[in-house]
Every structure is written in C-alpha cells, then in structure tokens.
C-alpha cells in the first residue's frame, strides 16, 4: 500500500472510527464502492493506524492490582484483561503500556524519561499514538545491541522519537561488554559518561522484564549466548531487568555477565519512579523477582499473569479469600 492509497485508508478509517459514519456513507462521500472502503479500513487497521484505548478496569483486575500493589508497596499497578492466548500477551501489554505512556506524555509528567529494552517495550511504543512532545527527552538505560536484531534499545527509542518529536540519547556501546575490563574502558568514554549521567537524572524509568529460560528473548536475538544464560541460571537467576539478572529474592546474582552489562546499576534507580511493563506465563518468576527487588514502583501486566503471581502468595496480607469461590 503506498502514498495515495494509504492516505485514503487513513481518511476512511477516521470517518469510520471517529466520524461514526457507516462504510456505505463513507463510500458515497469518497466516491468509492463500499467494498473498497471496507478494504481500506481493514488495511488501515492492519497497518496499525488505528489505536484503541479502553479506560477503566474490570473489577477482578482492580482486585489483582491492589493486591499486588499492597504486597510489594508499589505506587501503582495496572492489570488488564488478557486477550492473547500465546505465551506473551503482547496485545494487552502494548495497549495498556501505550495508554500509560500516552498519559504520562500528555500530562507532561516527566521531561526526561529513561527507556529500557525488550520486545514488549517495542510493542508498547509501536502502539503509542502520535503525540507532539518536542520538550521531552528520552534516554536509553543500556547499551544497544551490536548486531542487528529486533527490539533493541535503539529501535525502541527511535520509534519514540518518530512518534513524539522528542530528543533522544543512546548508549553508544554494546548491551554486554565482552569482558569486565572492556566495560571499564567503555564507561570511561566521555560520550558514554554523558549519557549515563543523563540516564541517572531521568525522572521516570520505563523498563521491560526478561525471563531466564529457553524462551528468553535475549537468547533468540543473540544478545546472550546459551552458555552465558546457563551460567547466570546456575547462579540462581530467574529474571532480568535493565541487563541485570536477579535471583528469586530480587538480588542481583553473582555472575560475570551481570558485571559486563553496560547499563545503570539497579541501586542507581532504586527509589526513583520505575515502571515495568511485562507479562506472560514464562515471566511470572521473573516478574516476582523484580518485584522482590523493590526496584520498581509500578507494574503494568495482564490479568492471567497477575493472577498467577497473586496465586503464589499466601493469604497473609489480604482479605482476598473470596476469589476462590469461582470455577
């Protein structure tokens, strides 16, 4: 679909979704057949030109939200109905995350925002509607992948720039340095130091959470090798956030890989406004680990994941006994 066609598609989609006209009416207005309009709207939808947000949450989700927020002392938690049936609920997370981020941008809540990495985050940003925000700056929290791969920090932040017109800052470095010595050298670079200090100054951090398992996205993209992953796993790692692998108590594991990550240290962002967007059956342990670390202040996830997380809790800190009744 090129220029003219695309423009027509956007036009038709607008008239349909915002204008509330029927396809028949639009067809007349634009002098095309109804079928053509139907196809244009389908194309526009397909191309991701149409983004829908739903405000307000289902009661069950709200219950999960408050349970999780209370248990880990979060400032906020957002749980949305799971709609995907595959392991990674990208649709839900993209919509929920984009809704959150859009709100932040719209309210101008933060002028300098740190951005993590990952497939989920990439999807979130893809779903973000265009919003002019030239006064905001985004800064990457960790090195970019050296080899080309989907959803590396560069891509995520680049798309943010496209959509908002904001300024952005990358880490001109690999995600993991080849050795601890190499990392030292990299960190000594002025260009990196500048970005690091900018990242430290961010008012809000939006991060993804990685799992440690055969499905790990980092493995698929070649960011880490199987050997490296096995190693951190042996050290007890069950999850990852901004390049740091954590054990189930939320502590960074003692593995060389953790020291080779070109990224902010967790201590540097702890206590600040950090929001994680993550979900999926494989990530339950990882998300719990990150929650345990108390690095994050907000969590955006899906209902199935939230339920799984809550189910592993004992009933100690809630009056949540009633949800058992169903089924």
């Amino acid at each position: 679909m090129q220029g003219n066609e695309r423009s027509l598609a956007a036009r038709a989609a607008w008239l349909s979704f915002i204008g509330g006209y029927t396809q028949e009416e639009i067809a007349q207005k634009l002098g095309l057949s109804r079928v053509k309009i139907n196809r244009l709207i389908a194309e526009a939808t397909e191309a991701g030109l149409v983004r829908v947000f739903v405000e307000g949450n289902a009661a069950e989700c709200v219950a999960l939200e408050s349970r999780i927020a209370a248990h880990w002392q979060l400032d906020f938690c957002s749980v949305s109905p799971t709609v995907d049936d595959n392991a990674l609920p990208l649709r839900t997370l993209a919509a929920a995350g984009a809704h959150y981020l859009h709100g932040v941008l719209e309210r101008g809540e933060a002028k300098l925002i740190g951005i993590g990495h990952g497939r989920t985050l990439d999807e979130v940003v893809r779903y973000l509607p265009r919003i002019a925000r030239p006064d905001i700056r985004f800064v990457s929290l960790l090195g970019s992948l050296t080899r080309h791969a989907a959803a590396n920090p560069f891509d995520v932040i680049h798309r943010l720039v496209e959509v908002t017109g904001a300024e952005c800052y990358f880490m001109p470095a690999p995600f993991f340095a080849d050795s601890i010595a190499d990392k030292k050298v990299l960190l000594a670079q002025k260009s990196l130091k500048d970005v690091f200090s900018l990242a430290r100054a961010a008012e809000l951090y939006v991060v993804g959470i990685g799992e440690v398992g055969s499905q790990a996205h980092m493995l698929a993209t070649g960011t880490v090798t199987e050997k490296e992953l096995r190693e951190v796993k042996r050290a007890g790692a069950v999850g990852e956030v901004i390049g740091r692998f954590l054990d189930k108590t939320g502590k960074a594991v003692a593995a060389e890989l953790n020291d080779r990550a070109v990224a902010l240290k967790l201590e540097e962002i702890k206590g600040k406004s950090v929001v994680a967007i993550a979900g999926g059956a494989n990530k339950i342990e990882a998300i719990k680990a990150v929650l345990e670390s108390h690095v994050i202040k907000g969590l955006i996830t899906d209902e199935a994941t939230a339920k799984a997380i809550v189910d592993t809790l004992d009933g100690s800190d809630v009056a949540a006994g009633k949800k058992m009744a169903k089924r």
Copy 2:
C-alpha cells in the same frame, strides 16, 4: 450504570476492541447473552471509556475538516496535506480544488457555474484535467481587469473553456468602477445586465478569498491602489470575496470601494451553493471572516491553514463530526 456494571462494560470493551473478539465470543467467555454484551460495549463507548486514535496525515485532515464544517455549518470542507512551504500553498490548493471541480464537472452536478477570481483559482483551473463538457456554462461573477494582469477573471474562465469546451460569459466591465456613478452607468448596460442575471442563476459558485495586507494579490496586480486598500483596512476589512471586503465578523465594511465593485452582491449568492478555495498563512483572518459571513457552503483549504483556523477556536464543538446518538 454503576460499579459492577461499569466493570463488566470495561472488560467487554477491552475484549472487543483490544482483543478483537466478536460479541458472541465475549458473551460466551463472560457467560452473558450477546445482546447484553452489545449493550455493555455501547455503554462503555457512550461513557467515553473508549478512545480511538487514527494515525496518518489524512486522518488529521479529516479531523480538521469536520471541525470546520461543524463550526460554520458548511455542507462540506476539504483539507489537504500542505506540501508547499511558501506562504501561498498553491500546489496543494490547485490539486485539491481541481479534484473537486473535476468531480463536479464529471458528475454534471451543475450546468451553470459562477466563477470568481484570483491567483488560487487560476492555478486550480490550470491543474484541471481536460474533460469535455460542452453542455456546461461558466459565468464570471465580477468584472475583468482592464489592464493586462495575471489571473484576472478573464484568464480563469478562458482556461476553463479551453479545458472543457464549455460556453462562458464575461462581465464586460472593470473589476472596480472608478466611481459609484460610473458603476451605475455600467450596470445599466444591457450586456452587463444579461451576464448579471445569468450569474444570479448559477447553481454553483466557485470563489477565491483575498487577504487585506501588503501581500494582497490585488495590490500586486494593480486592481486596487495602496490608498484604496488602506481605506478598507481602516474600515475594518480583513478579507475579500468576489470584490467585497469584509470585517472579522463577516460583514461588508462601509467603504466606498465596496460599492464600486462590479460584482454580484453577497446577499445574492448567500444560501446558494458557494465554494471557496483558499489557503496560506496570510489568509487565515480573511478566510475566517468569509466563514463568519456564512456566504460560503464549502471550503477547500490546506492542512496548515485549517489547523491555524481551528487553533483560534475554543474547544466548544470538539466532538464535531461525531454522529449524534439517535433518539
């Protein structure tokens, strides 16, 4: 709608819009009837819980169109993406205007068409593709320039004839008479009277809009003198349409020049099908004035101009274009 209901509505809307499930599927999932789901989604939409964004240049243009059309009760409004960076977006207007005019001719919507003047209109007609229409007649709405100058009504209408093979009728008179007495004499001429009555009978009027400022095209072509322009400006004029200068409320200003124009009176075309083609940074006030006069029923403009016009509006009728809920 209270708590529980609202929560269900949110879930249903989420499953529908984000999940892409059919209402039937959602009904099964939630154990409710399809009709109930339909109502829940309608309620959620009604309550403004669902926000839809359509990306793309064209979508933004459509938004501007409906906003402008609603605010000034136009029958239609066409906003095209601005491509020119100079003050007068001739390319855009020419293409959009030609597209409109071509459609009118092709559909044979009007057999007798009144034509105004101006550089924009000239450009529109230059851009018009050849289309045989010997059954259509064009009639000039105002006097031709006496001295040779670009884009006088003669040229515009002459080109129309070339392109369509239509018949045409000029005003054999200057654009402005030298005095009110002279104008009387001119109007008394049989040849002029005939054209005037033809002009009054036109089914469609296509006009340009002139600005009142140092860049005014009329000044450059010598149609009006600096002194005359200064005078109407002092009387409050901010825009011009078929030789009449209007103040910002859309009323013709009290200036002698206005009474010397050899052209139809605005009252004579008001209520009829009048379409203006105009755009450009300098013309914003002029276009607003003409819109305020409610003489025109249609406007063809460019995105930048439309945005500027809309920006001066308060948010009172934002929901424009949204079809009102049926009773």
